[in-house]
Symmetry: C2
Subunit: 198 residues, 2 copies
Amino acid sequence: MERHIDFSNLREHFAETDYFSDEEFEKFTSYLTIKYLKKKEYFTKQGELCRYLGFVNSGCLRAFHTDSRGDEFTMYFAFLNWWIGDKTSFYSGTPARFSIQVLEDCEVFQADKKRWEEALDNIPIFEKWYRVKTRKSYEATQQKIIDTQTESAEEKYVNLLTNSPEIVQRIPQHYIASYLGIKPQSLSRIRKNIFKPK
Amino acid sequence: MERHIDFSNLREHFAETDYFSDEEFEKFTSYLTIKYLKKKEYFTKQGELCRYLGFVNSGCLRAFHTDSRGDEFTMYFAFLNWWIGDKTSFYSGTPARFSIQVLEDCEVFQADKKRWEEALDNIPIFEKWYRVKTRKSYEATQQKIIDTQTESAEEKYVNLLTNSPEIVQRIPQHYIASYLGIKPQSLSRIRKNIFKPK
């Protein structure tokens, strides 16, 4: 029995930037499959091939790199409307440079490389959307490098509160510390400072 | 009198990834103008609109962000075959987030937004090349975030020696330190350690 899939989030997501006709949108969704992931499961595992790119329809995941000393560094958190996957691995067939693990049970719409490229070839509006999307991801990542190098730990946390309240509300403290590149104790100190009664 | 422009570097640069016919390549170069820049001149200035994207045909430049305290952080060095510009500013019309300044006299092939977009619209092979290029820039920037957070200062410098010998040979030490996010004194110490006679 086929289950009805609700693509309304994805539909709205595209509408933010480009006009997909109903027909184009339906054509695009025909390239997708749905994947349900439980807490602690992996969408991508560092060192293995990243076979899918995915759109987060619900839940939350964490992308992180583990270095040769076994230390983890959190790269991003993905919520509703995020696209996930290690594109380098996906496109080049090289081992993924980071893992993407579930923090809250997820529903992900995904496509493997063959279907992703077919969609790009066959749906010009998707191709156009994807070009702009990739550019914006690049710009955001460049901005993160600037921020990483120029902001103090406290500024980083204040900006997170302002720009990404979702992270502060939903993500455990030790992962936030790992995302900001600081020790959990430093984050506790910063939070005490910010939230202390005046 | 029109001066003959030698586009052979750019021709080779495209050939690394995609097949441009002579006709397509010539069409593309018709959208470009040439800009000569002297040492210390700016291609892009932080806070101002970035009006051009450019291809470095000779010379060398440094992209850097200056924070509210006046501290500089070096984002990248651009040599032959690099594309330069702040794409966010170029596309969105917002003030550039960083400056790009000449370290060695430069020859740059450039296009403003109108001509760049006309080229994308009119030359499908260029559009395809640009999509892949943007993705690779994104991936490289993501890798730099991983490296920044997980490598020690010494590892960073050793990787630079291995992967970007051009930087070590051509760029002044204090800019390399700023690029690695360490103090010039730390870089001197690291260099002494690495190059000390056994």
